[in-house]
Amino acid sequence: MKKLGIILVSHVPEVAQGLPKLLIQAGPDISLTDAGGTNDNDIGTSMEKILAAIEENEASELLAFYDIGSSKMNLELAIDMSDKNVHLYDTAFIEGAYTAAALIQADASLSEIEEQLAPLKIK
């Protein structure tokens, strides 16, 4: 298992659950956890689900990606409530997460990864 993990936050449960299937192809040895939708599985985000995704992740240092603006605020609240070291990126959601997965799998360092993520920042 790689030292860095990834957490994925989407407004849509299916998107959050589906995306790891793409990332796992590029990063089979990465712990990937996801949080999608509200507590009732409606469209939205849930701080509790995000916190659970952070805690369940097998890595202690995590890279977090989210889809649209409001997920970010719940992510930040969850990060505040967790002891884990979570880095939050304002990149294109799927493209940023895929890039991170490919690089973590190749044992790139966090600073190398962040360098490659920089041009994907759009939020």
């Binding site: 509200t38 507590n39 009732d40 409606d42 469209i43 939205g44 985000t45 849930s46 701080m47 509790e48 649209i68 603006g69 409001s70 605020m73 719940n74 930040e76 609240l77």
Partner: protein, 191 residues
């Protein structure tokens, strides 16, 4: 001055206003958002009601924290973490002071930090900020603040995706924040 008791009364009044204006809030969220603000806030105040009902003789800090957690866990949209952060900050500060003006100041700072928005971005901040700035909160201050969001161009939240097209609509979170402060005005002893 906020107390455990009048804060709970404040929340009862807020609940009733949201219940009565749920559809209007969602309608406001339709042209410049995703049309769920009324339902989001209704779930939120329901969560607050349930949380408060479980407390036994709580102190003010516990009341404020319970409100925050109810909003954070039930709203499901951007307004959840924002209102939640506002009440979390009030809870923290309530050890030092129960003065409503000072508590609103820290709440506003929390909203700004959480959402990265500022005055003029067409968000709830455009109601919270004038309310915080005025020493005496009046319905006039609240109404003017709400109305001021109409001509603003949204720079944060979902409405910002619309760019110029966001102009000409009231911000739904500004309107729901207006209900919060009207409810406060109507709660004896809080000011």
């Amino acid at each position: 001055m906020l107390t455990a008791e009048n804060t709970q009364e404040w929340m009862n009044k807020f609940y009733l206003k949201i219940e009565q204006n749920k559809d209007y809030l969602s309608e406001l969220d339709t042209p410049i958002g995703d049309g769920d603000h009324g339902n989001n806030m209704m779930r939120g105040v329901e969560g607050v009601k349930q949380g408060l009902a479980q407390l036994q003789d709580p102190d003010l800090k516990t009341v404020l924290k319970t409100i925050a957690m109810g909003l954070i866990s039930k709203v499901g949209g951007a307004s959840g973490p924002l209102y939640g952060t506002a009440f979390l900050e009030m809870a923290k500060k309530s050890s030092d002071t129960q003065d409503i003006n000072q508590l609103i100041d820290v709440a506003l700072a929390g909203i700004k930090k959480r959402g990265g928005a500022t005055e003029g971005d067409k968000t709830m901040i455009d109601v919270w900020s004038p309310v915080a700035q005025n020493d005496t909160i009046t319905q006039q201050v609240i109404d003017d603040a709400i109305a001021s969001t109409k001509d603003m161009l949204a720079r944060k939240g979902r409405a910002s995706y619309l760019g110029e097209r966001s102009i000409g609509h009231l911000d739904p979170g500004a309107v729901s924040s207006g209900y919060l402060f009207t409810a406060l005005l109507e709660t004896e002893g809080t000011l």
